[in-house]
Amino acid sequence: MEKEVMSSLKMAGNILCSASSFIRKCIFGVLRVGPIPNHIAFIMDGNRRYAKKQKLSHDGAAGGGGRYDAGFWALMVMLLYCQELGVKYITAYAFSIDNFKRKPEEVESLMTSMLEKFHLLDILVKLLAVRVHYAGNLELLSNELRASAMELTEATAAYSKSVLTICIAYTSRDEILHAVRESCEQKRIDLEFGNDDDDEIKLMKVEKNMYMAVAPDPDIIIRTGGENRLSNFLLWQSCWSHLHSMWVLWPEIGVWNLVFAILNFQRNKTYCLDMKKKEKEL
């Protein structure tokens, strides 16, 4: 009897999943009638509040990155949905340079958690043929974490179906500072070797030296957690981006949140494209 009940429940579950998947495919089909963003960036805010709600393990506990597990899987789910929709570039704000200001034990726990997730990510992105890129001042990371990041970047360099950029030890101002330094250094070298074909540093030269030069500017920046600020994320690249804030905490983000964000974007896309073209003309 029990076996029959379990079997019925399993069948009901499969039917529900199939129906849900069918409805999702239909909705995505409708979305694809309109313009699909090429690049979506996520500010993954709300992990700590989610952990408090769910009473997940404290940061200080051994292997205490438990509160960020749900956030990691939320990112993987978003990556899957974006791939299904045809969004080629996904960027996630994983760890800001400002986050180093947190308590040392919290930072250490985060770094440990990230290292574990990189190993998991290694398997998942190869299954999904996703190229992974890390944007940020990687010199601020531990040797182990940096090596793991470089290894994954090299291992996935040949994939082209989607590009996942993880911003780690990143702030936009640090990125711009890095680009300015590189541009000045290149200018100095050009002058030294008499290759200076231009009197002034141009905007394109600065852009080429950004950590985010691997991806086009984001079409949408989605911030979860209800806050209304960029928090030093993609300041340069966000000038024409559609900004979408949502109350939902990052680990709770679902397909409907993504659908709403894209629908809002589609209403404004024509304007953004026009302005990007006009910026290039000037």
Binding site: S20, I23, D98, R229, N232, C239, W240, L282
Partner: protein
């Protein structure tokens, strides 16, 4: 996940969690989302006609006085620097069947009111996005009108601003402006440079990206001349070279954008790193005291963590 509702609303219908305020805990609000079909504004202006060339609304900016704040606002939590993207003049005029020029003139009046409120409520810096670098591709007629409007507004307001203790600064690529306007800007900046009640920064022919690029060029020149080494280039140096170096508070605490658009449109990119963003549905000429109070009230309820923990 499974839902039988097929009519998907475009507005974000996810409601914020109900948080019971505790002592010391502030309630956060989300960005306002645009409706699919925004309704016409509720204000009923009886004077639906093009404004005259007289741009002053009600005499001088009042001299310093203790002004009672609206009940929702706290003086201690007032932002030091507010930035505004004044969007919606054209749409405002079209909704009323007026020429675009009428929308811009109404926008100047709204700006004047905002300047008065900032003076009264202790805001120290107000930066307004009057004309972006990308706006040069607008029709020549509109651009010429805007340039003449800036000149008229500056000429008519300079004395009033001087008496009201307002310092005017203009940022942006002034080389593209008419010579007469460039000269007037220099005069106005010189005349008001010692005023300290409020600094009004007007961004004209401004682009956030070009602000950073010109800072980069300036730094490259200094490095070329040996004034600085490459290792000396840091965030502080870039801040000093940006056009907002004309003020002690270059980073806005609050950015307001009107007309319901959800983007920053190449305005103050570096400076907006930790700025609280507020998107108002109203078109700029309709953005008045009540709407400003809403924006300030929203700002005062937010928790600013700067990447750390509270």
């Amino acid at each position: 996940m499974l839902s039988l509702r097929f009519a998907i609303p475009t507005a974000n219908t996810l409601t914020p969690p109900k948080i019971k305020p505790k002592p010391g805990l502030v309630v956060q609000t989300a960005w306002n989302q645009t409706d699919l079909f925004p309704s016409l504004p509720k204000r009923n202006d009886n004077k639906l006609q093009a404004a005259t060339t007289d741009l002053s609304v009600a005499g001088d900016i009042p001299a310093e006085e203790v002004v009672e704040l609206p009940a929702e606002l706290s003086r201690e939590l007032m932002p030091k620097h507010v930035a505004v993207i004044m969007d919606g003049n054209g749409r405002w005029a079209r909704q009323r069947g007026l020429a675009t020029s009428a929308g811009h003139e109404a926008g100047v009046k709204a700006l004047r009111e905002l300047v008065e409120l900032c003076c009264q409520w202790g805001i120290q810096v107000l930066t307004v996005f009057a004309f972006s670098y990308e706006n040069w591709i607008r029709p020549k007629v509109e651009v010429d009108f805007l340039m003449s409007l800036f000149e008229r507004a500056l000429k008519s307001e300079v004395e009033s601003f001087s008496r009201g203790g307002i310092r005017i600064s203009v940022i942006g690529d002034s080389t593209k402006l008419p010579t007469s306007l460039q000269k007037l800007i220099n005069e106005v900046e010189e005349t008001t440079k010692h005023n300290s009640r409020l600094q009004l920064i007007v961004a004209v022919s401004y682009s956030g990206k070009y602000d950073v690029v010109q800072a980069c060029r300036s730094i490259a020149e200094k490095a070329k001349d040996g004034q600085i080494q490459l290792d000396d280039i840091n965030e502080s140096l870039i801040e000093q070279e940006l056009e907002t170096n004309c003020t002690e508070h270059p980073y806005p605490d609050l950015l307001i954008r009107t007309s319901g658009e959800l983007r920053v449109s190449n305005f103050l990119l570096w400076q907006l790193a930790y700025t609280e963003l507020f998107f108002a549905q109203e078109l700029w000429p309709d953005f008045r005291k009540d709407e400003f109070v809403d924006a300030l009230s929203s700002y005062q309820q937010r928790q600013r963590r700067y990447g750390g923990r509270h």
